[in-house]
């Protein structure tokens, strides 16, 4: 066996660690050449690795599979060095009563952060049970004991696919569920997209751990540093939209030239998400780069409101009728986006940082710009 040819433990070198912190530093408003070391120091000064309880409710596990695609840090370092993943059913070794023991020990300590993947079954409470308890019982109790709660993926944020009409099981997102249980103003950070994105998860988690505060959230509970901008505004095909150059049919000449996908259904003009900036799977691609339209998966109720996915989004005037800026401001979900938020969003995601003066030292991505 030739094991030596590959890195046995994907080591987080000092340089890699600073890189991962570079993104965070810009997110939390630290800038300048010393920002990344300061964040790294803050993390290392934590007395112990923060405990995480990750509940999977009505889900497909796609968010967890994307978590395994995390690069900065990579999953081995995340699990072994940076967090203590005390409960995640897809990852943990123990099962049954022993898994339940891990759950109880951590939750009863009240010293943990809570991540939820999947919707809460409220119409048919037994449409999701773990160890004989319903998702409603588990979610409410665990939320009340957690130091902070993050909903990962559109299901946990807003109910997701199983909440598509007629929502057979009465699935709800965490915030709506907690409200229906009489918790008037629940504190939940929503990190939608379908699947939930590993980089979002890590960025939000590190933000909460380092700043010990919630990030600024929009009216849908999403951090503005990630979800403050329309997909359309950062799309590399935006110039073709403005020039009136559209793919009419998949595989046509426009498709080969990478023209705008608006006419074949792209929901980029109404979806707030960082996909074109941070991209996916270590920055290598994103759904529009694959020649398919954005399906608006970061928006509440997108399965009903953004479908049919391959039909034009209604109510958008084409170039000539309206300026590009108006497209961004006039449509989509209600968000608290201002010029400042736009700026923070760009800095956070490295868009301004790549080669730019304020984060030019460590923020750049080696894998970026493949095309």
């Amino acid at each position: 066996m030739e094991h030596e040819e590959m890195s046995l433990i994907p080591g987080l070198s000092r340089r890699d660690f600073l890189k991962s912190c570079g993104v965070l530093a810009s997110v939390i408003g630290l800038s300048g050449p010393m920002a990344a070391p300061r964040v790294a120091k803050a993390l290392e000064q934590l007395a112990k690795r923060p405990a995480i309880v990750w509940s999977c409710f009505q889900e497909c596990l796609g968010c967890s599979v994307n978590l395994l695609q995390s690069r900065k840090p990579n999953p081995a370092n995340l699990i072994l060095k940076q967090i203590s993943l005390n409960y995640h059913e897809a990852v943990m070794a123990p099962a049954g009563s022993q898994a339940e023991k891990s759950f109880r020990e951590t939750v009863d300590s009240k010293d943990f952060y809570y991540i939820v993947e999947g919707g809460i079954a409220t119409g048919i409470p037994n449409a999701c049970t773990i160890s004989g308890k319903t998702s409603m019982e588990i979610c409410k109790d665990t939320y009340q004991k957690a130091k902070a709660t993050i909903a990962i993926g559109t299901c946990a944020c807003y109910g997701g696919i199983q909440a598509a009409a007629p929502n057979p099981s009465g699935s709800k997102g965490v915030t709506d569920f907690l409200k229906s249980e009489g918790i008037s103003n629940p504190t939940v950070i929503n990190s939608p997209r379908c699947p939930g994105n590993a980089d979002d998860t890590v960025a939000i988690l590190l933000y909460v751990l380092v700043k010990k505060a919630l990030p600024e959230l929009d009216s849908q509970g999403r951090p503005t540093f990630l979800f403050g901008q329309l997909v359309h505004d950062n799309c590399e095909r935006r110039g073709h939209f403005d020039a009136g150059e559209f793919v009419e049919v998949f595989g046509d000449a426009g498709s080969e030239k990478g023209w705008c996908l608006y006419k074949v259904g792209c929901k980029g003009p109404v979806a707030y998400a960082p996909c074109p900036v941070t991209r996916w799977n270590g920055d290598i691609s994103w759904p529009v780069m694959a020649g398919g339209p954005c399906i608006g998966c970061s928006e509440p109720d997108f399965w009903d409101k953004q479908s049919p996915f391959y039909e034009k989004a209604p109510g958008i005037k084409l170039p000539g009728d309206i300026t590009p800026t108006q497209v961004g401001v006039g449509l989509g979900a209600l968000t608290a986006v201002g010029i400042g938020a736009h700026f923070i969003g760009q800095a956070a995601t490295g868009r301004l940082g790549k080669g730019g003066p304020q984060e030019g030292d460590e923020t750049g991505s080696d894998e970026g710009g493949k095309r």
């Binding site: 590959m6 395994l68 999953p75 449409a127 160890s131 696919i161 057979p168 998949f250």
Partner: protein
């Protein structure tokens, strides 16, 4: 007589409870219960056929790609499209091969591994290389921190862990390495599909675009690294640990019926011509049978749906209503499941209502019986390595399930680069059409069977008035984790559990092994 309940079964996709009746150290009876319901077939009704595959791939976030394939293919066949353009066929194969590769690596190390590899025991090893020492130090740091995280509370003191500490350490190192390797396969898929999981380049009629030469080269480089890992680490790991766990051949026999719809199309796009061909095996007789998608039937007497919902009907005539939920017996106490106990419907095959095992064991046995040289050689070599040369019946066991997944991973990764070469050849010939526009106003019924990594997967749909009139998916876990049917016959996992030894009912490690061998 002891009742053993494991809920949750961890290291799987979805939510599962296993209840066993254990007598004299052996499982006497077993029940599997899926404890989650979402209602896909209800909310997919009335949707736009062109985008229905986006819903369908969310059935499983671990294996969205074969769901996506079956969904676009079911719609295509409903609209009368027999074949997709050849270059679209190849792009879909490349996507599928990347998905299969990541999935089998993830299963072998991350989902199944802890049933055989004792992580704390790595501290007792003499580390042979600096790399292994680094891993050992990292495990030590985690143990000494008192924060064992995902490794806490496992039955690490169970006598069923047989590996020497050095092998535990080596495979723990590979567990970490495999986290990087699964990313390489997912990246190969994401480069063509936009992201992984939840791809964006499929559409009924073909795929959205022809990948660039650069993308194809990237795919080849990623999949080459995955192939190297499977050849030089994963397959040798299987052969290294198998001698310590030969008792796996003695339990988990199961129902002896196997089904595969086949996966990975050759140029003919004929399902019997696939890299893993379509076929069936009945009653433990290792003879190859033809199978039909139309012979799938469903029963609901033990499921939380009205008895008349199933009653042996074709998937398109079943649905998921009315719901009739009845409580499960509590985990504690003496009561065993009775009557209705599962959100899964019992899926059976043909007029004999056979429960069918699906998955890599079925796929590899069928490829072996079909005389595929790669399958033949790998199966024969594995049999020789475990001391059963010439006797493939020994594979009808948990040992066979574990081995077959690794064999399948190897055949798949050996061919991934061939697909890329075929695509480059098509580009060279100017054969770059990847999409044909379909008439979505047509009425029709379609179906597609194309296996997911964990086994036979089929989608069925009826289209009318430019809408999805009816949709039905029959995923592999509906076969393997079927509950009892209307006649009381157990499903494949339930049947495989019967006879499983249980050394300590408080620590039912062997039950986990049998269940995980199916990759539920």
């Amino acid at each position: 007589m002891t009742k053993v309940v494991i809920d949750p079964i961890t290291r799987i996709e979805g939510h599962l409870r296993i209840t066993c009746e254990v007598e004299n150290g052996v499982v006497k009876d077993a029940w599997n219960t899926a404890t989650m319901f979402r209602g896909f077939e209800i909310f997919m009704k009335g949707r736009d056929p062109k985008g229905i595959w986006q819903f369908a791939q969310r059935i499983c976030g671990v294996c969205p790609t074969p769901h996506a394939f079956n969904s676009v293919r079911a719609v295509e066949t409903a609209l009368g499209m027999d074949k997709v353009p050849d270059s679209a066929r190849i792009v879909r194969n490349m996507m599928e091969a990347a998905q299969l590769a990541y999935d089998h690596v993830l299963w072998f190390y991350h989902l199944n591994g802890f049933d055989y590899v004792n992580v704390p025991n790595t501290l007792n090893a003499k580390a042979a290389t600096p790399g292994l020492k680094a891993v050992q130090d990292q495990v030590k740091a985690v143990v000494e921190s008192g924060q064992l995280g995902p490794f806490a509370n496992m039955y690490w003191d169970h006598p069923g862990y047989m590996l020497p500490a050095e092998l535990d350490l080596e495979i723990t190192a590979h567990y970490l390495q495999a986290l990087e390797i699964q990313q390489k396969a997912c990246d190969a898929s994401a480069m063509l599909g936009g992201r992984y999981p939840m791809i964006n380049n499929y559409v009924p009629g073909g795929v959205t675009q022809m990948p660039s030469i650069e993308d194809i080269e990237y795919y080849v480089s990623q999949m080459s690294m995955v192939k190297d890992f499977i050849d030089t680490v994963m397959l040798p790991d299987l052969l290294a640990i198998a001698p310590y766990y030969l008792d796996l051949a003695s339990y988990g026999k199961g129902v002896g019926n196997f089904l595969s719809w086949g996966v990975l199309d050759e140029k003919s796009q004929d399902p019997y011509d696939r890299l893993f061909p379509r076929g069936g095996i009945f009653d433990g007789k290792l003879e190859l049978q033809k199978v039909s998608l139309e012979d799938t039937r469903q029963y609901t007497k033990t499921s939380w749906f009205g008895d008349g919902v199933g009653a042996g009907k074709h998937p398109l005539n079943v649905g998921q209503e009315p719901i009739e939920f009845t409580n499960l017996p509590p985990i504690e106490g003496e009561a065993f499941p009775q009557g209705k106990y599962d959100w899964t419907q019992a899926v059976r095959y043909g007029t004999e209502d056979r429960p069918m095992e699906v998955g890599p064991l079925a796929q590899v046995l069928i490829a072996y019986l079909a005389g595929r040289p790669e399958a033949k050689k790998l199966v024969d070599d594995t049999l020789a390595a475990v001391g059963h040369a010439g006797d493939p019946t020994v594979l009808l066991s948990n040992l066979g399930r574990v081995a077959a997944r690794v064999i399948k991973a190897k055949i798949n990764s050996d061919n991934a680069i061939r697909w890329a070469e075929e695509l480059l050849a098509n580009i060279g010939k100017g054969e770059t059409t990847v999409y044909e526009e379909l008439d979505f106003t047509k009425t029709g019924t379609g179906q597609s069977g194309w296996d997911a990594p964990r086994g036979a997967l089929a989608h069925y749909t009826k289209l009318s008035d430019s809408k999805v009139d009816t949709y039905a998916a029959v995923p592999p876990s509906n076969w393997n984790l079927s509950p009892r049917d209307d006649k009381g016959v157990r499903g494949p996992v339930e049947e495989a559990l019967v006879g499983t030894p249980v050394a300590d009912p408080e620590k039912p490690l062997e039950i986990l092994r049998t269940v995980h061998a199916f990759d539920p």
